[in-house]
């Protein structure tokens, strides 16, 4: 195995201890992590996998202990490289994480039996362990009582009851962690029959002999149990030694089966048997399981009529919020950006530095922050729905529908959110357990028609699609707009299908999903989650988006002599000042000002035409001509790489109208309508307008989405792939639209 080295001891302070936090999903693990580490976690990715690395600090008695948060899981049986990360961290084999000194295992008090399965597996690591019995309040409300003292006695481990979302008993957990790191290793209990341990031991010997590697006892056991698991895959390669291991492994499994110790079934039987024995007399369930409020709610919310109605209403609300209600917040960010720009322009004379600050840096920061309202609002909803237990019901309701598209119910919310903005949509895919479903969802999410495409559609529809009705009260303009929204979603279906076939072949991932009990969501949990996601976006994706904006700024700025442009800018400011202070010659001054502004716009237009961006536009003209485009549209398409709507201000600059135009601008519409090819024919007509719209519906001109894909997949491969496949798709779509449209329109 490749990752067998632990980090070198000399880089680590000798007294620094590390604790890992594990637990089932829906146990309040993240909440406990936040409570213990005070929200100050460092996040990153483990190399080569998509697991988020999250390390916080527990401070107790002036002493700092590193706390590693591992992804929520039901089992330590690794079936993928992502799942192996948790095991490697626990065994001290994961690069970049110091060897773990103790484990904190959080369990749901209202669902102890199943939770003890993971505890049982983790006890086989032999590390000092603290059991945190969370959600005692939920257990009580269900009439379940747990004798924590007796549980601790039987487990021979410290057991601490908490209600993490109320920060209850957090200090006791900290104390227990500080104590546990000082304790020696434990000797794991032998739950399995002796034959099993003997076979695991022999496998270790065999690996030593044939592959010259020494794997921990824990991994040898996993190798033996996990048929087709990640460890088997890594150790039984096609080499002679690998094949030897495979035949040893098969023989061992056969001997075990003959001894009535068949893997993998033996593991669940042994561990659940152990859990039941431990809990006998420790947990008391109510004699008659009364139909609880949660049950009644569940019946209503999964009802085939009311359930779907509530679901549709909730989703409408979520969509409305991120699509429309984020608007005022985004406007405020833009106003703030305008204010800072004004400050800079008041201090600095026109020049390259000012241009870099205003059009590069301030625009770049603004371009990152502008996504925050949508991200925060979406996660406000997701976190609330998740914490109250509804999110898994939403997946339950939509699974059949999404399965028809080749995905699972968990892909619904991310894809729906992507109709507002793909950035939070891609970030929301983290809940999808199946790697295949998650990646396919991430890759098709940017095809959903987001709000940034709307200005492009509106401008072109208003300028070129005639205002006529198709009958039945259906307007042509509205129909075109609807088709633009539909095209991405329709194209996504075959794309998702193709991606699965090509990149993720193999069996359909299963959809075994816990449906947690409903509870009142905790404001603290929700707030923490929103903060965490917002911070992750700004810190990890924001820097890349920012860098992209700077690069595009430089391409549009250089090469070129901007001195005349600056001179005109100064004259405009001077004229404006005179106009303000001296209204006598207002009429004349206004004419002068208008002339200056026109000249300024002409100069700016010439500068962008001569810039690297303009040259690129000219260079790609032969390639975009079959789409009906001239070089100016080409420049617009390249310049809009950071964000689709940038094409509007770019066209404004190119057509000498200035960059302040928007999709309502009559001037820009007029300029587009009268724009000419060198031979005097119109550049724009209906097929060209449609071709541009189709291109923007399908292309990946959104640096933020690409950078979020980079972050979520932890690889440059997928954002590059997304960009290439969407550009090809957009080009083909625009080509067909234009060529077919030319025949008819």
């Amino acid at each position: 195995m490749s990752k067998s080295q632990t980090s070198s001891p000399e880089t680590v302070k000798p007294n620094r201890k590390t604790v890992a936090l594990i637990g089932n999903p829906n146990t309040g693990k993240s909440t406990l992590f936040n409570a213990l580490s005070g929200m100050k976690a460092r996040t990153g990715n483990y190399p080569g996998v998509t697991v988020e690395k999250k390390v916080g600090k527990v401070v107790w008695n002036h002493r700092e202990i590193d706390l590693v948060d591992l992804p929520g899981t039901y089992s330590l049986s690794p079936r993928s490289p992502d799942e192996l990360v948790s095991v490697d961290v626990l065994l001290g084999r994961q690069e970049g994480v110091t060897a773990v000194d103790a484990v904190v295992c959080i369990v749901d008090a209202s669902n102890l039996e199943r939770n003890l399965y993971l505890v049982s597996q983790s006890l086989d690591l032999g590390l000092p362990t603290v059991v945190v019995l969370n959600m005692m309040d939920v257990a009580r409300s269900k009439g379940i009582s747990v004798d924590a003292e007796e549980l601790a006695k039987r487990l021979k481990l410290p057991v601490i009851t908490t209600e993490a979302h109320r920060r209850k008993n957090v200090d006791i957990v900290k104390q227990a962690i500080a104590d546990s790191v000082e304790r020696p290793l434990r000797t794991p209990e032998s739950l399995f029959p002796d034959e099993f341990y003997a076979e695991a031991g022999q496998l270790r010997d065999s690996l030593r002999t044939h592959k010259d590697i020494d794997i921990p006892q824990f991994l040898a056991q996993r190798l033996l149990i996990d048929r087709g698991g990640q460890i088997e895959q890594e150790l039984t390669d096609s080499s002679a030694a690998g094949q030897q291991i495979r035949s040893d492994l098969e023989a061992a499994r056969e001997r075990l089966a003959a001894a009535n110790c068949r893997v993998p079934a033996i593991e669940a039987r042994v561990r659940y048997g152990w859990a039941r024995e431990i809990l006998d007399g420790v947990v008391t369930h109510p004699a008659e399981r009364s139909a609880s409020k949660s049950d009644a709610l569940d019946r209503f919310l999964t009802h085939r009529v009311f359930g779907l109605f509530v679901f549709a209403a909730l989703m409408m609300l979520v969509f409305q919020t991120i699509y429309t209600w984020a608007g005022p917040l985004m406007d405020q960010i833009e106003t703030g950006q305008g204010f800072v720009t004004g400050l800079v322009e008041g201090v600095l004379q026109p020049g390259p530095l000012r241009s870099l600050l205003v059009d590069g840096i301030i625009a770049g920061v603004g371009g990152v922050l502008i996504f925050l309202p949508q991200i925060c609002l979406l996660f406000l909803f997701i976190a609330t729905l998740e914490d109250c237990g509804y999110m898994s019901r939403a997946a339950f309701l939509m699974d059949r529908f999404m399965a028809k598209l080749g995905l699972s119910g968990k892909s619904f919310v991310p894809l729906m959110s992507s109709f507002a903005c793909a950035v939070p949509g891609v970030m929301a895919t983290r809940v999808i357990e199946s790697r295949r479903d998650r990646f396919v969802t991430i890759l098709v999410a940017p095809l959903m028609s987001c709000s940034a495409r709307l200005p492009v559609y509106l401008l072109l529809i208003k300028a070129f699609i005639p205002e006529q009705t198709l009958g039945l009260g259906l307007g042509l303009q509205g129909t075109v707009l609807f088709l633009m929204y539909a095209i991405g979603a329709l194209v996504a279906i075959p794309v998702a299908w193709g991606l699965k076939k090509i990149f993720f072949p193999g069996e359909t991932p299963h959809f075994v999903m816990e449906l947690p009990s409903y509870k009142v969501p905790s404001a603290r949990v929700v707030f923490d989650r929103v903060y965490d996601r917002g911070k992750a976006f700004v810190v990890r994706a924001g820097t890349l988006i920012f860098a992209t904006t700077i690069v595009i700024w430089a391409l549009g700025y250089y090469p070129g002599d901007h001195s005349k442009q600056y001179e005109l800018q100064r004259s405009i400011v001077a004229t404006e000042t005179i106009l303000e202070s001296n209204p006598d010659n207002a009429e004349l001054m206004k004419v002068t000002l208008e002339d200056l502004e026109n000249e300024y716009h002409t100069v700016s237009s010439e500068l962008i035409a001569g810039s690297a961006l303009g040259q690129m536009g000219h260079a790609i003209e032969p390639a975009v001509k079959p789409l009906g485009w001239d070089w100016r549209i080409g420049v617009g398409a390249i310049a809009s790489f950071p964000a689709r709507e940038v094409i509007i201000s770019t066209l404004g600059t190119i057509y000498s109208l200035g960059g302040d135009v928007d999709e309502e601008s009559e001037g820009l519409m007029g300029a587009l309508r009268t724009s000419k090819w060198p031979d005097g024919t119109n550049v724009f007509n209906i097929p060209v307008a449609l071709s541009i719209m189709v291109f923007f519906a399908l292309c990946a001109q959104c640096a933020a989405t690409l950078m979020v894909i980079k972050r979520e997949t932890n690889s440059w491969r997928w954002p590059i792939f997304s960009f290439v496949y969407m550009t090809v798709l957009a080009y083909i779509g625009a080509f067909i639209t234009y060529q077919v449209g030319r025949l008819w329109l």
């Binding site: 089992s75 079936r79 669902n111 569940d298 119910g409 299963h510 075994v512 449906l515």
Partner: protein, 81 residues
């Protein structure tokens, strides 16, 4: 005693309970089902169907779990006497 016809988890109706006889297969799906506590001898009940008929909600070991019909077919039940 005649050999009972094999009954699967999908044969239950809402509100029915039964005892699991066997998890069919030893691939990753059956392992996952066993990890979630679906084991021989356990009682399981069908709570209801999703609006489109699939997946299906069950209760086992005091908690709720959703399985697609194709997954639930991997669980064989003991025949009722």
């Amino acid at each position: 005693m005649e050999a009972p016809a094999s009954r699967l988890l999908t044969d239950l109706r809402p509100g029915d309970s039964a005892t699991i006889a066997e998890i069919i297969g030893d691939d990753s799906l059956s392992t996952r089902l066993m990890e979630m506590g679906l084991l021989e001898g356990e009682s399981i009940s069908l709570i209801g169907y999703a609006p489109l008929g699939d997946p299906i909600e069950f209760e086992i070991r005091g908690y709720r779990i959703s399985l697609r019909a194709a997954e639930a077919q991997r669980v064989r039940l003991e025949s009722t006497s």
